[in-house]
Symmetry: C2
Subunit: 445 residues, 2 copies
């Protein structure tokens, strides 16, 4: 009786908004508990708005009967995502909860890599034959619309071998005279995506064409499913998040910051941090190499952080801009020469400006002779020239590194701000000491 009152009673219900608000702070067990307290009218919406990872964790907290109810709420593409998020040993169990035709669809979808076009698509779309009349097609669609299909916005015209012949929007079909043939109102040769296209390229196609849905075809031109634009919003968000995390010098987290396990986060940050540390260790060796110069002109040490960090900042700007421009298709591999020319000019202007600032700072500093010694003007020149050189070098290295990585088949986003800064630090030290030994020869050095 108690369970009945919990299911049907009006009191003790948790408003959906309250649960959604508290959600990020709840443990898995609390989420299961909270979800069961929802109004049964609201629960399906709340469930539908969770991402695949959260749905999967929730289901594993349920008993088998409850698990089956919710598993069967999902369209095949979402069910496939959920199964993919579940631990290996649970996948068979979850699949067995589906009815037979859906299970087959989901298993077919699981064959695709998660971030390929095939992994994003739904096999439930509406299709007609080219030789149907418009009014026949509408009647036929009306029947299909009552089943579970992803969208009836676009209708795909196929031959008997499932080859995609054309597409007609529902609106066009609806506005066409009843006795025309479908083949006469459809657009032939529609834009389609290959089933193994990666999701980043798929999202660029959507951004470019403003489609609501796109058909997915295999190598023989047979239609396998559709991708709808609402899934693309998530893809674009996800890809940007991955790029941002890499740009910050971390491996992509693949989960919300607060949900990633502590040890996994340690690993994802620690690996890059250690690599960068090993790179930075070379600065200690480089400095040791210039120890004699330092001993004679200790004053040089004062400007080391200023000089190398300015190069790092300039490199961080250039690499970030170029990486993003490559990611969204604004800049292509063959544009490297235009980018290089631009960054050389940019580095000269910005470096010239910072170099002048550095020079002026030393020339006009109150008590410059006491702090920097009698040769403060030459020191200023050495710092200024080094700044010019290192800002230029940062801009050029930061801008070219993403091209080199892409050319090697690696992810340009690996050229993160910290990575470029480390690269520039080592070379920047060498530049600084060499410039100083030329400018200050015979005076300080």
């Amino acid at each position: 009786m108690q369970s009945e009152s919990q299911t049907r009673g009006e009191s003790g219900r948790l408003p959906a908004a309250d649960l959604q608000d508290a959600w990020p702070a709840l443990s898995d067990a609390e989420r299961v508990e909270g979800f069961r307290l929802l109004d049964p009218e609201e629960a399906p919406d709340v469930f539908g708005e969770l991402d695949a990872r959260e749905q999967s964790a929730l289901l594993l907290g349920f008993g088998r009967a409850e698990r089956q109810i919710w598993m069967r709420q999902l369209p095949p593409d979402d069910a496939a995502d959920l199964v993919q998020e579940a631990p290996e040993e649970w996948r068979e169990e979850l699949l067995s909860l589906l009815d037979e035709p859906t299970r087959k669809e989901v298993v077919a979808l699981l064959a695709y890599a998660e971030d390929d076009a095939g992994g994003l698509m739904s096999p439930r779309y509406v299709r007609v034959r080219p030789d149907m009349r418009v009014d026949e097609a509408i009647t036929y669609l009306r029947r299909q619309a009552q089943e579970r299909v992803e969208t009836i916005y676009y209708i795909y015209v196929q031959d008997a071998q499932q080859r995609l012949l054309g597409v007609v929007s529902f609106r066009e079909l609806f506005a066409a005279p009843s006795d025309r043939l479908v083949r006469d109102v459809m657009s032939a040769e529609p834009v389609s995506v290959a089933e193994d296209l990666d999701q980043e390229s798929v999202s660029q196609l959507f951004a470019q064409h403003d489609f609501v849905a796109m058909p997915v075809v295999d190598a023989e031109g047979r239609m396998k499913g559709i991708i709808t634009v609402d899934d693309i919003v998530d893809v674009v968000q996800e890809e940007a998040t991955e790029d941002i995390q890499k740009l910050g010098g971390t491996a992509a987290l693949d989960a919300p910051y607060l949900d990633v396990g502590f040890l996994e986060l340690v690993r994802k940050r620690g690996v890059w941090l250690s690599v960068l540390f090993l790179g930075e260790l070379m600065t200690a060796s480089a400095m040791a190499h210039y120890e004699d110069e330092l001993a004679r002109a200790l004053i040089l040490a004062l400007f080391i952080p200023l000089v190398i960090s300015s190069g790092g900042n300039s490199g961080s700007q250039a690499s970030t801009l170029v990486i993003r421009a490559i990611a969204i298709g604004e800049v292509r591999l063959r544009d490297w020469w235009r980018v290089l020319r631009r960054e050389i000019a940019m580095g000269l202007v910005l470096g010239g400006f910072l170099g002048t600032l550095g020079l002026v700072r030393i020339l006009l500093w109150p008590g410059r002779e006491e702090v920097y010694g009698p040769h403060y003007a030459l020191l200023g020149v050495a710092v200024g020239v080094s700044l010019l050189g290192i800002v230029l070098w940062g801009a050029v290295a930061g801008a070219m590194l993403p091209f080199v990585l892409r050319r090697l088949g690696l992810d340009p986003a690996t050229a993160s701000a910290p990575f470029v800064a480390t690269l520039v630090d080592v070379t920047g030290l060498m530049l600084y000491f060499n410039v100083a030994s030329v400018v200050l020869r015979g005076t300080l050095l």
Copy 2:
């Protein structure tokens, strides 16, 4: 005659794909020229796929008649975007090219800020009254579908005062029995967005709900238009690009990298670079303050770049992760305490690891006594402890700064990797020298 052969002849036509391929490298004048060489069948598609900035530049290169043809191709929301991208002095002229009803719609849209919900919406949606029968509504829609409407996927139910009562998807309406009333098949109280909601929040609603379109209402609940998800893909892309550029230490470019004018790019990078430079100047002052220690133990200088850059890298990781988590709504202001605890633990683990690496590197380095002197072990301890402290400090400062900025009403993305690195550099130097003077007192110092 020549112009006729250029317009109608089959030869001399430029394939659309070739033009689109060359597009980024072309000047405005070349784009106009290339566009005119397109097959008239292909030109409208090419035009439609340009962004508002490119469409605007193209139109300004046309004569008035040609300009009018293309201006009238655009639905009102796209026309409003185009006008917004055009130089101030051109806007009246462009508006005058539209037919009167469209001009009124566009002027109404221009009243909204470009990145508010109102600036994204289209006023052309399909609407029905609640007391229509399903079959009446379908017939009525069939008439509306022949006019220019953005989508017929969702149908909005309004009372006589344009107040939004409910929504019904076309598919639901289509699948419903003919003699039901619209009010009985519609979903009441649909999710809607306020006309002045910012576009980042709008895109989060779309990402959360998987809608294809959402209605926009004013403060009185009157419906003003709809936002469709295909425009949201662009918004998500755009917002991520802005955040990425800020994270790299540049002002947001608001245009493709290769299209931004050189001087504008100098300004957008130079301002931040100078601010960071002024911050870094404090490192020179900090170093001057420790000149005595340096003179006595020059060896300390060798590890300065290593120590401060490790803090910068750790800070860059933490700030990037937290900024992105805040931007996509995974972490909220009130989660600061959970994030702080997490980053303290993270900083201790990562800092402990790097500190140990640094210590081991010095203890085991071949020829350590010659390079680092007899007290190399103590030096190793000083470097190791400093690394622990600075990596911890980087993680905590990097993670908390975005919260502080958001709390002050500023953009968290301002806490860019270079910004955090600069902050950590100055404090890191102080930490390093203070740790060293404690550890090495009586030996080197």
